[in-house]
C-alpha cells in the first residue's frame, strides 16, 4: 500500500508516529498551519511557527525518508483579533518561496463571525495574488453547514479557480455543495467528530470520487495518524479493488498537490495496494 497523508499536524505528533506512517506506506505528508490550542500573543510567535513548518519539521520528517510539505495561514480561531491577524498576514509572503510550501491553508471559518470572514477573504486575496493553492477548513459540528455555504460564496466572489482549492472536513451535509461548486473535497477521519471510515467510504461510493481525498488531520487531540491506511483496509473489506483504493489515497492527492511544481513523493514508492 502507498498513500499520501494530505493533512496532518505533525508538530504535535511523536517520532513514533512518523515511523508508523512510513511503515504503513506513507510517501508524503502535508501540514497545514493551525491553532496551537491557545491564542498566540504576537506576530513573532507565528514567525517561529512558520519556521517550524518550513524548516524544522521537514528535517524531522526527512529522517524517516518522508517528504514534508506545509500550508501557511493564521487559523480562523485566531482571526477575531484583526490587528494581530493582519500582522500575521503581512509576514506570510516571506515564507511562500520556501520549497515545501504548497500554498495558503488551512484557512476558513470557525464560528462564522464577521472578523473570520474578513481574514478569510484576505487569505484568499494573498493566494490569488501569488497564484497559490488553497486549503480550506470548514467549521465544526453545528457550524459546518452555514460556514461551508459562506465559504463557497466568498470563493466564488473572489474568482478563485475551483480546481485549485480543496475544501476540507466535508460530511454528508456539505460534500455535495463543495463538489457541485467544482472544488476538491477532503474527508477527515476522526474517531468521534467528522467522519468514520465507514461513512467516508459511503461518500466515496456515492459522489465524484475523482475529486475527493481522505486525511487523518491528526493533531494533539483525539485523532489517529494511521486513519487513512486503516480506511483503505476498510475499503478492501467492502470489496473495492486495489486500483480504486490506490486512486483514492495516492492518485487523487497526487493530482491535486502536483499543481504545485515542487510537490514530490518519496522515491521508495513502488507497487500498489
Amino acid at each position: 500500500m502507498r498513500y499520501i497523508e494530505p493533512h496532518a499536524h505533525m508538530v504535535s505528533r511523536t517520532t513514533d508516529d512518523y515511523t508508523a506512517m512510513v511503515t504503513a506506506g506513507c510517501v508524503a505528508v502535508c501540514e497545514p498551519a493551525f491553532w496551537a490550542g491557545f491564542d498566540r500573543c504576537s506576530v513573532d510567535g507565528f514567525r517561529d511557527y512558520f519556521r517550524q513548518l518550513t524548516e524544522i519539521e521537514p528535517r524531522r520528517a526527512a529522517r524517516y525518508g518522508l517528504p514534508h510539505f506545509s500550508w501557511l495561514c493564521i487559523n480562523p480561531k485566531e482571526s477575531e483579533d484583526l490587528g494581530l491577524a493582519e500582522d500575521v498576514l503581512s509576514i506570510i509572503p516571506e515564507f511562500l518561496d520556501k520549497p515545501n510550501v504548497l500554498g495558503i491553508g488551512e484557512i476558513g471559518l470557525n464560528k462564522n463571525s464577521r472578523n473570520e470572514v474578513k481574514i478569510f477573504e484576505r487569505h484568499v486575496q494573498i493566494a490569488v495574488e501569488h497564484d497559490r493553492l488553497i486549503l480550506v477548513h470548514t467549521p465544526h459540528l453545528e457550524d459546518k453547514l452555514k460556514g461551508t455555504k459562506l465559504i463557497l460564496d466568498i470563493l466564488r466572489n473572489a474568482g478563485v479557480r475551483p480546481g485549485r482549492t480543496l475544501i476540507d472536513h466535508v460530511e454528508e451535509h456539505t460534500v455535495r455543495h463543495v463538489l457541485d461548486a467544482g472544488h476538491w473535497a477532503g474527508i477527515t477521519l476522526y474517531p468521534e467528530s467528522k467522519a468514520t471510515p465507514a461513512r467516508a467510504i459511503d461518500m466515496v461510493e456515492q459522489y465524484a470520487a475523482e475529486r475527493l481525498w481522505l486525511n487523518s488531520a491528526c493533531d494533539w487531540g483525539h485523532s489517529d495518524p494511521l486513519a487513512v491506511p486503516k480506511t483503505a483496509l476498510e475499503m478492501r473489506r467492502r470489496g473495492h479493488s486495489a486500483t480504486a483504493i490506490d486512486a483514492l489515497i495516492y492518485g487523487n492527492p497526487l493530482r491535486f498537490l502536483s499543481q504545485y511544481s515542487g510537490f514530490k513523493v518519496a522515491d521508495h514508492v513502488g507497487g500498489s495496494v
Binding site: 491553532w35 464560528k111 462564522n112 472578523n115 463538489l179 461510493e205
Partner: protein, 95 residues
Amino acid sequence: MTTPKEPWRQRDALTDLYYMEARARLLDVAAFLDRVDRAPGTDDHRLRSLRAALSFLNDGKADRTRRILESWSDPSVAPADSADTKGATGAWPKL
C-alpha cells in the same frame, strides 16, 4: 452536478459486514438515554436534538445521515457579529 452511483454491494453482504457494529452502537445510544433519564435534571439542547434525530432512523427515507446533520446545524445565513467562543457543542444551541 454530482451523480450518485449504484449501491456498492448487496444488502446481505453489507449486513454481514456491519450488523454487529450497528447493533452495538444502537445499544450504546439506548444505554446512554437510559443513563441520562435516570439522572435528575432536564435536557439541554444536545439531548433535545439527539432525541429528535431518532425519528429519522426509522422513517423509511434515504439520506438519514445528511438529514440528521442538517437538523443539528445552525440555520442562519448571515455571519455572526463576533465569535464569543471557539468551540462547538454538536448541535445548534437554540434547538
